[in-house]
């Protein structure tokens, strides 16, 4: 606690950082921030980072800054540390006061800020520094990335739906009058008024809201395929044209209500798909977005930041803890642990010393090292993975969807029947007008909601059901593809296993204060330390973090520290040996020892554990007749152990990222529809080349963005559930399709024969839709074993 006299008041601060911020605000005349805060508690500002100069580099500017015509610069930032509206106010205020800043708006909901400034008056680094100086942090993001684009499509769909709903709701009550008139008798003049009103309401719905279907039909036409959009567009358009004809000639009934209903229902279905739609190309933005654009090189003992494109082979590069490697090389000075999980999937850090190879994509964990570049940026591993990914995404197989195929044939057949009917009636009666009406009525009665709704309705229920069970299907069609699959490929680490070591056995040799161990493992970010930390947290309620002194982390060995004269040592067996402590080291798992004053007090056995229910889930998936294969980057022995434990007989070990993808391709060639589940960057290529990719909720961002299905709870049981759900949904789709085809077999001949009076049409249309909707709702009754 720091106390200070200021204008006759005694002020209390928790730390120097908060004191600094207070004075800064006071000097700027922004003291009333603290009043606006209310009861919100703030965290002390974090220490300043020394990477400000990178914001003014050319490479950075090229990527994130947009230059306006009048010379102003614009950037989109994400501001970290905003927890209340006062924070938004403060940030905006401070930026506004900064000379040269023309505009600064911050969105409280997503913490995104748009800043426009005059580059002649202020530098970007100054802006970032200002934000940091008041205790927040800002980093740029590229607004061209998927999220922004997704938000835009979502908005456009939402607006179209609003129009469609408005139109159909109003047409509904007009239609009520219409039908009442049909049964009770109505004068032609009133009928005309209703017709015109319905016409006015239906027009924007068809052409604004239904634009998506016309566009889809047009693309289909260009690719020479007849798709669902063709059916909806042609059905709605012909019903609309027919109704205009009926309205103008005052003959027959109008069908404006069914025009809007078709558009509205199918549009809502599509919207729900769009809500979570993925954009494959954005994956690449993502990979490239997460890599640094500059590295620190050392030439004749002068450090300088250089754009990665300018690094040549032989340059010495400095790597600080926490930085990601972008250029392959060989270590020349120092030693450090590297996280290679993005390449191998294994969370255990790899210890590297002089002469060892450093791979791009790995992250330096604990100390500053120098290494010599052996490749340039474009041929480094990370870049080649990105290229491979690009290839496999564009080559991603697409299973033809049943509903699309059927509706394709169906549309063609109906169009031919309609033409024949028209020709037949014209030939038989010689009455052009009557022949035309009957011809169009065939299309109108055939197109309708039932077939259009068959797939969307069932998928909708299927998707919402799975979302409730923490399974996200990104597109409705994936349900169908998954239902057809008979092969499941699994990654090991992170998918079947937890992906991080956890404590198997704990052996306390002498009673000791657990807070000491807690404080010690808290100083290290090594997975083993974290495993012990989580064990301590779950076993002991009240843990205190002591202030340790002389903390020393020894690479790949352990941690040393002292507390009130006590010497604390924690680490592996060789670390204990070097401290002169004798330990037993018989175990096939990772061991961690803890000693106080060179006396061994505890021994922990850690291992990557298999997820709960994994065995049960695999058994049930196998029972469904699905072949299960395990692909892993880990070595043979541990692959076999895990495979045996959960009952997988087919497994392939020691696979590099691209080899996994090759395996998937082999399976494709054998005629399989492959579902692949994985979580790491090392799985991404394989995920991208499989038919259905399933990612774990907290897996790598890249893995999630190439995947089609995301399991939020990461449980293997969700794999089984998603299989069940997709199969059930597909079954409902098939039932719906069969029903609507049956309906057409009865209704179309009636229409061809000229018996379609408005009563039959209205009744059969709504009835058939109701049946389809009702049948789809039955998916909700699907029961899983675990539920009571």
């Amino acid at each position: 606690m720091i106390t200070e006299e200021h204008h006759g008041q005694t002020l209390h601060f928790c730390c120097r950082g908060c004191q600094g911020v207070y004075h800064l605000l006071e000097d700027e005349g922004l003291g009333n921030f603290y009043e606006k805060l209310g009861d919100t508690k703030l965290n002390p500002p974090s220490a300043q980072q020394g990477d400000l100069e990178k914001f003014d580099l050319e490479g950075f500017e090229k990527r994130y800054v947009t230059v306006h015509d009048d010379g102003l610069h614009e950037i989109n930032l994400i501001i970290e540390g905003i927890h209340c509206s006062a924070c938004v106010w403060l940030n905006e205020k401070v930026l506004h006061k900064l000379e040269g800043v023309m505009e600064a708006t911050i969105n409280y909901t997503n913490n995104k800020a748009k800043v426009i400034w005059d580059p002649e008056e202020v530098k970007l680094s100054k802006i970032i520094e200002t934000i940091r100086s008041i205790g927040y942090n800002a980093y740029p993001y590229d607004p061209k990335l998927q999220e922004e684009r997704a938000v835009k499509t979502r908005k456009s769909y939402y607006m179209r739906i609003l129009v469609a709903v408005f139109g159909s709701m109003n047409i509904m009550w007009l239609a009520v009058a219409h039908y009442a008139g049909y049964f009770g008798g109505i004068e032609q003049s009133f009928k005309d008024i209703l017709n015109v009103a319905e016409f006015i309401l239906a027009t924007p719905v068809l052409f604004y809201s239904g634009w998506i279907f016309f566009r889809g039909a047009f693309y289909g036409y260009k690719n020479k395929t007849v798709n669902m959009d063709t059916l909806v567009a042609s059905g709605a358009l012909s019903a609309y044209l027919y109704s205009i004809y009926a309205m103008v000639t005052q003959r027959g009934e109008v069908y404006f209500d069914s025009v809007t209903m078709i558009i509205t229902f199918v549009l809502v279905g599509k919207y729900l798909e769009v809500l979570s739609k993925k954009h494959a190309v954005d994956t690449l933005d993502h990979i490239i977005g997460s890599t640094p654009t500059e590295v620190t090189t050392i030439k004749e003992s002068v450090k300088s930041l250089v754009s990665i494109d300018n690094v040549i082979i032989g340059d010495i590069i400095e790597l600080k803890p926490g930085e990601r490697v972008v250029i392959d090389g060989i270590l020349t000075r120092g030693a450090a642990s590297f996280d290679e999980s993005s390449l191998t999937g294994e969370s255990e850090p790899v210890y590297k010393e002089q002469g060892d190879e450093i791979l791009s994509g790995s992250i330096c964990l604990d100390s500053t090292i120098h290494y010599e570049a052996t490749k340039d940026a474009s041929s480094s591993l990370l870049t080649s993975i990105a290229h491979l990914l690009e290839e496999s995404i564009t080559k991603k197989p697409r299973i033809e969807q049943l509903a699309n195929t059927i509706s394709g044939y169906f549309s063609t057949v109906i169009l031919i029947i309609a033409l024949l009917t028209f020709a037949g009636w014209f030939y038989a009666t010689g009455d052009f007008e009557q022949a035309l009406i009957i011809g169009i009525s065939v299309i109108v009665i055939a197109c309708p909601c039932a077939l259009g709704l068959a797939t969307p309705m069932a998928s909708l229920v299927g998707i919402s059901m799975s979302a409730k069970r923490n399974i996200l299907f990104k597109e409705a069609t994936f349900l169908e593809t998954m239902a057809k699959s008979r092969l499941l490929a699994l990654d090991k680490t992170g998918t079947i296993t937890e992906g991080r070591p956890s404590v198997l056995t704990e052996k306390i040799l002498e009673p000791f204060d657990f807070n000491l161990l807690y404080a010690l493992v808290n100083t290290s970010s090594h997975p083993v330390s974290k495993g012990i930390l989580s064990r301590l947290k779950s076993k002991h309620k009240k843990l205190q973090n002591y202030e340790l002194e002389d903390i020393k982390t020894i690479q790949a060995k352990g941690v040393k520290a002292s507390f009130q004269g006590k010497k604390l040592t924690g680490g592996n067996a060789s670390f204990m040996h070097s401290a002169g402590i004798v330990v037993e080291e018989q175990s096939e798992h990772t061991l961690f020892y803890f000693a106080i004053d060179d006396r061994l007090v505890a021994r922990y056995e850690l291992s990557d554990t298999i997820k709960e229910e994994a065995k049960e889930a695999i058994r049930m998936i196998k029972q469904m007749g699905i072949r299960v294969v395990m692909l892993t980057g880990d070595h043979e022995q541990s692959a076999k152990k895990v495979a045996d434990a959960i009952g997988i007989s087919e497994y392939y070990a020691r696979l590099l990222p691209d080899e996994k993808a090759k395996k998937i391709d082999e399976l494709h060639q054998a005629g399989e529809i492959v579902v692949m589940a994985g979580d790491g960057i090392n799985d991404t290529i394989a995920l991208a080349s499989s038919d259905i990719a399933i990612a774990m909720g907290n897996g790598a961002d890249v893995a999630i963005s190439v995947s089609d299905v995301v399991l939020l709870d990461e449980s293997p049981m969700s794999l089984y559930e998603s299989y069940r759900l997709s199969r059930r949904t597909f079954q409902a789709v098939k039932e719906n399709l069969t029903f609507s085809l049956l309906y057409n077999v009865i209704a179309v001949p009636l229409a061809v024969a000229g018996f379609v009076n408005p009563l039959v049409a209205a009744l059969s249309m709504s009835l058939s839709s109701l049946v389809v909707v009702g049948n789809s709702m039955r998916i909700k009754t699907l029961k899983f074993k675990k539920e009571k």
Partner: protein
């Protein structure tokens, strides 16, 4: 009931509804619903201070434009 009354009834009600719809669409299009809390915060922090802030920003923009004009004049050919 004459046709005229029906026309007026349908017309007026549809028009009113459409006005509401257009208002909503305009709001979405201009991003007024992007930040749920902006409205409330706007009301909470509204005051002389916010006004002064807005004036200050306008002043900044105006100054820049003036400066730009001057610069252009300085480099341009003499009148």
């Amino acid at each position: 009931m004459s046709e005229g009354i029906v026309i007026v009834m349908i017309g007026v009600s549809t028009l009113l509804g459409a006005l509401g719809l257009i208002g909503l669409l305009w709001g979405i299009k201009t991003g007024q619903f992007d930040d749920q809390s902006k409205f409330i915060d706007g009301a909470r922090f509204d005051g002389e201070d916010a006004l002064r802030d807005a004036v200050m920003m306008e002043e900044k923009k105006r100054k820049r434009q003036e400066k730009k004009k001057k610069d252009e004049k300085a480099y341009g050919p003499p009148d």
